[in-house]
Symmetry: C2
Subunit: 154 residues, 2 copies
Amino acid sequence: MLDQRDRRIVEYLQHDADMPVTDLADLVGLSASACWRRIKSLEESGLITRRVALVDRRKANVGMTVFVAVRTSRHSIEWLESFRSAIADIPEIVEAYRLTGDMDYLLRMVVPDVEVYDAVYKQLIARLDFTDISSFIGMEELKYTTAVPMNYLI
Amino acid sequence: MLDQRDRRIVEYLQHDADMPVTDLADLVGLSASACWRRIKSLEESGLITRRVALVDRRKANVGMTVFVAVRTSRHSIEWLESFRSAIADIPEIVEAYRLTGDMDYLLRMVVPDVEVYDAVYKQLIARLDFTDISSFIGMEELKYTTAVPMNYLI
DNA sequence: GGTGAAATCGTAGTGGT
DNA sequence: ACCACTACGATTTCACC
């Protein structure tokens, strides 16, 4: 269904979303209109969800990354739902996953400094109870990309 | 230097990068040309770095997230550099951080399944030696956003 | 300094071959 | 896939505060 050209279109758009359609068409060896139709269909199919602007974290003064691993003893649906809504409400939390293993949940936060981290931490424990929280400060970001590999398409 | 309107512009663009300038101008209460100039200056200052297309991980067949915590005894610059280049080369690794604490490094990978995870794992250990590797499989993505909070701007 | 309105220009999007 | 055309939104200009 999706061929090599679709993959390449997505690969390029994952790195630069406002490349002109004509340029992209040249890169993948397609006419502009053919390329345009493919982009639209990739968007309609939902493979491409949206286009966003990325921000320099340092310049936005949230250069500090903190990972927070939390565990809970309350393994109910209700707990999960209120955890989920707490996470959604706190903009400093940019990622959150439920994990296998003994960690339960892993959060990634971006904050200006430890003081703000502490404030967010307090917000969190005010809303929910955790049996264990441990945090790891990111000293250096070695890699961060929003681009996912396109070579596993079915 | 940056006022409330600049913040709001960035907030909107972080969620939808191809909103027409006129719409954005209305939202922040500016004329289209004034809004346009601010966007350009935000891009030139480097606060807005670029615009990218986001992809549905499931539909790209990389629905599985694995966190890999690695430790090393080789704390040299050389080791770090070859680690960095290994990470850069492997597209399944989408994030990598050097941490405080006893974890040393934390990687986030996106893969189709455990088989592919294992293959990537083998690639990694073929290129570098680690004293310890532990992995955590993400069972559920509770939150993932590329948008960082704009309320800490200096 | 920054703004807003109008004029221009370029490219996305449409339709036909 | 290509071409011609249209329509809209991105830039530019300029007068203004």
